[in-house]
């Protein structure tokens, strides 16, 4: 059941109706049932994975509630099973194929035939496996009270707005909300509906209108014109942002309707001044924080020698690349290259940090001027967009080819643009991106939700109607799944 489907628009009001009719102390039970229904309708077999992970995590959590040396063993067993199953489901078949190919290349004929699992990770597994891992670690570190019952843990993992594509919630923030009783505050309903509306707009109007051109050109990288490839690279950067952040906005909005606050996952990422800011503070924040708390800091973080620190950063980005593998575009080496490239950006940032600090001390006003600010945003955006090419292309070879073709014709582009036969599809895409950027810049200066709240009714309503009817007129409702759901 997609957030953009008719089934979901039937399911949600019904779920809300039953939810509000129930006494507060029983509401979580209904949310759990609704979440299992939501996930089971997607594919009934998914419930097996979800149930298994829930049972395992709860059992390990209970075992770790006691004292003694066994706690570490329970933590290790839990993490190995949760993360090991994620790795196996995502990569085993791919790795087996690569090993067979490598051996065949060495021997010159098919050398061995390794067995295959023949199945992939169920939708959303990467997300709830990471939530499960964080629960185990938090339970081990006694950050969680012992009162977490099996049902509460099950709801933490299965909560339907977030199960397919996050945010990757922490039990420390999620469970207390359940214990305190779930109440949908009327003043948050408007904010919830705004978030749902804006999320749908980003998904079905922006992302899904940019998608077809991106798909077409990335599929024929060798034949596509450099200009088309360049447009596709730009479009993809916004497609993936609107697709993923659209999902998150909808998830956060729906959760608010059920009285639950989820983590902020995006903060206008393409307005970042550096790639470090992009990854650390603005893009998929819940994942960045997960990596920070459960990988980077345990590795020693930044309180180690420079070489270790650089290695830690690269490890985090390589693991992030692995985590993203399989996302809608199959498993390929491109994700590892994408991770490595982003890691490299961080290395350059770390290595030149001293120099830039020196420059900003020497010229304190220059760095704060609008042109420099815009230049930094543009540079960061282009670095990120170039890395996305490895994420989206079918193979690393395709990605290199796309970047080469664009690079080789960069100098000609200014003369080509005035004569380029831009189609309605191009113009619509650029128009939507322009609109998104206007909203994001306005939101960066002063939150749009607050601006709307302060606006006169006629203006506020006009904006709502415009958004609703843009969804109806321009939205691609029959189009596609959310990209990040397909892990």
């Amino acid at each position: 059941m997609l957030f953009t489907s008719l089934e979901f628009f039937t399911f949600l009001p019904l779920a809300l109706l039953v939810f509000s009719a129930l006494p507060i102390r029983h509401r979580w039970v209904w949310l759990l049932l609704a979440s299992y229904l939501f996930y089971g309708l997607w594919q009934p077999a998914n419930l097996f994975y979800l149930g298994a992970v829930t049972g395992l995590v709860w059992a390990c959590g209970r075992a770790m509630a006691g004292e003694g040396r066994g706690r570490t063993a329970w933590l290790t067993a839990g993490l190995v099973l949760v993360l090991g199953s994620l790795l196996a489901l995502k990569f085993y078949d791919f790795a087996a194929g690569e090993v067979e190919r490598l051996l065949s290349a060495i021997v010159g004929q098919p050398a061995i035939a390794l067995p295959r699992i023949g199945t992939t990770a169920p939708a959303g597994y990467s997300f709830y496996a990471f939530s499960a891992a964080s629960y185990l670690v938090d339970a081990y570190l006694r950050r969680l009270p012992d009162k977490a019952g099996a049902g509460h843990v099950a709801l933490y993992l299965a909560f339907f707005p977030k199960i397919l594509a996050g945010p990757i919630e922490r039990a420390t923030a999620f469970l207390p909300q359940i214990w305190n009783g779930l109440r949908a505050e009327p003043d948050r309903v408007v904010l919830a509906l705004q978030l749902i509306g804006w999320g749908l707009f980003k998904k079905v109007v922006i992302a899904d209108n940019l998608g077809p051109l991106v798909d077409r050109n990335f599929a024929i990288a060798a034949f596509a014109a450099p200009m088309e490839l360049l447009i596709s690279v730009y479009f993809f950067a916004f497609q993936i942002y609107c697709d993923f952040s659209g999902y998150t906005d909808i998830a956060i909005g729906i959760s608010l309707l059920f009285g639950l606050s989820l983590l902020d996952n995006f903060r206008r990422p393409y307005l970042s001044l550096t790639t470090a800011e992009f990854w650390g503070q603005r893009w998929h924040i819940s994942l960045a924080q997960w990596f920070r708390d459960y990988l980077y800091i345990p590795l020693g973080g930044s309180r180690v020698m420079a070489v270790r620190r650089y290695a830690n950063v690269m490890i985090v980005f390589l693991v992030s690349g692995l985590w993203h593998a399989g996302l809608g575009y199959g498993v390929s080496w491109g994700f590892l290259v994408w991770g490595a490239l982003n890691g490299l950006y961080q290395w350059v940032g770390l290595a030149t940090r001293g120099f830039w600090q020196h420059v900003s001390r020497a010229m304190p006003r220059v760095g704060k001027t609008t042109p420099i600010h815009v230049l930094r945003v543009l540079l960061t955006f282009h670095l990120i967009a170039a890395a996305w090419v490895f994420f989206r292309a079918k193979t690393v070879g395709d990605a290199v080819l796309i970047l080469q073709k664009i690079g080789a014709h960069l100098s000609e582009l200014p003369t080509l643009i005035p004569y380029y036969p831009f189609t309605a599809e191009h113009l619509l895409g650029f128009g939507l991106i322009g609109l998104l950027l206007i909203v994001e810049v306005a939101d960066e200066r002063h939150p749009v939700a607050k601006r709307l709240a302060a606006a006169p009714v006629w203006l506020r309503w006009s904006i709502y109607y415009l958004a609703i009817f843009a969804l109806l007129i321009l939205g691609r409702w029959q189009a596609r799944e959310f990209i990040y759901m397909q892990f």
Partner: protein, 311 residues
């Protein structure tokens, strides 16, 4: 708060109604190849021939070819074929046609693929591409309701149709309703085994299933019975397709045998032109006749069929 919400919804519904109306006007302004649009705008109440079938029957109405056939035979012809539609959808169209019109003869163009999958039958009703070009009509809505109850047609088709969602959401709202094949009608195809394979994979989303075939043959039989009840003579044909395409169709011999049995039992005249032409110059893609091919078919065979079987 509640009053504001009601006013907000009421204004929203009023805007929606306006949009629905504008979209409906656009359906009439840009309509052309949708079968139900043709019925709504047919100038004559009675026609000599109605043509039904899937995309192989559609070139008969491409780029003035229908008018050419009418001139050559002296008979009025209304082509109500729709791309990718099986006998269930065809029967739906015929039922609606017979509400307000009459026909003397029915030419049914048989496509085996359309008798194997709900994709081309029950699920086809909910296709936005068809719904967005279908004019609003209470009879169609009523019939869709009946089909969703009796024939397991996706109820979303009725919801979409009644709400006008696909029309409001139509991204080709200002473009004329011309099936993509018509733009290629004059071109000559260069054979490609890969294209043929992918086309057949598209036409047969599931492996051919005899049970599904029986179900859709029953739907076809019901269509023939309906025609007979209205005193319409039924003639069935198979259109020419390249042998490269025909020979790859799964279970075609079994389909032919089952279809022949039905047609004989119903005493329906059948003309099999499937192997009539093999030359690529007669096709604009893997399996559709171009103007040269259709002209050849008409002159050699179809004209005689239309004239001999005229009722």
């Amino acid at each position: 708060m509640r009053r504001s919400a009601l006013i907000f919804v009421a204004i929203g519904l009023a805007i929606y109604a306006g949009l629905f109306y504008a979209s409906e006007r656009l359906v009439y302004a840009t309509g052309r190849s949708n079968a139900l649009f043709k019925i709504a705008t047919a100038k004559e109440a009675d026609v000599d021939w109605v043509i039904l079938g899937a995309s192989h029957a559609m070139p008969l109405d491409f780029a003035g070819f229908n008018a050419f056939m009418e001139r050559e035979t002296g008979q009025s012809i209304l082509n109500l074929a729709s791309p990718g539609t099986g006998p269930l959808y065809n029967r739906f169209v015929l039922e609606h046609f017979l509400d307000r019109h009459r026909a003397k003869n029915l030419l049914y163009v048989i496509d085996s693929f359309a008798f194997y999958s709900p994709v081309w039958n029950e699920e086809r009703f909910a296709d936005a591409k068809l719904l967005r070009r279908t004019p609003l009509d209470a009879d169609i809505a009523q019939r869709l309701f009946a089909y969703s109850r009796q024939e397991h047609v996706d109820p979303r088709a009725l919801l979409d149709y009644a709400s006008g969602f696909s029309k409001i959401n139509n991204r080709e709202r200002f473009e004329p309703d011309i099936w993509e094949g018509e733009a290629q009608f004059e071109r000559v195809y260069r054979p490609s085994a890969t294209a043929t394979r992918s086309r057949i994979a598209y036409l047969y989303p599931q492996p051919p299933d005899p049970a599904a075939r029986s179900r859709y043959l029953e739907a076809f039989k019901a269509l023939i019975v309906l025609a007979r009840q209205h005193d319409i003579r039924v003639v069935a044909i198979k259109m020419p397709v390249p042998s490269q395409f025909l020979d790859r169709l799964p279970d075609e011999a079994e389909f032919d045998a089952a279809m022949s049995q039905l047609l004989v039992s119903q005493q329906v005249a059948f003309y099999d032109f499937a192997r009539a032409f093999d030359e690529p110059r007669f096709y604009f893609d893997t399996d559709h006749l171009n103007r040269a091919g259709l002209t050849e078919l008409f002159n050699r065979h179809l004209k005689a069929v239309l004239e001999q079987n005229h009722h």
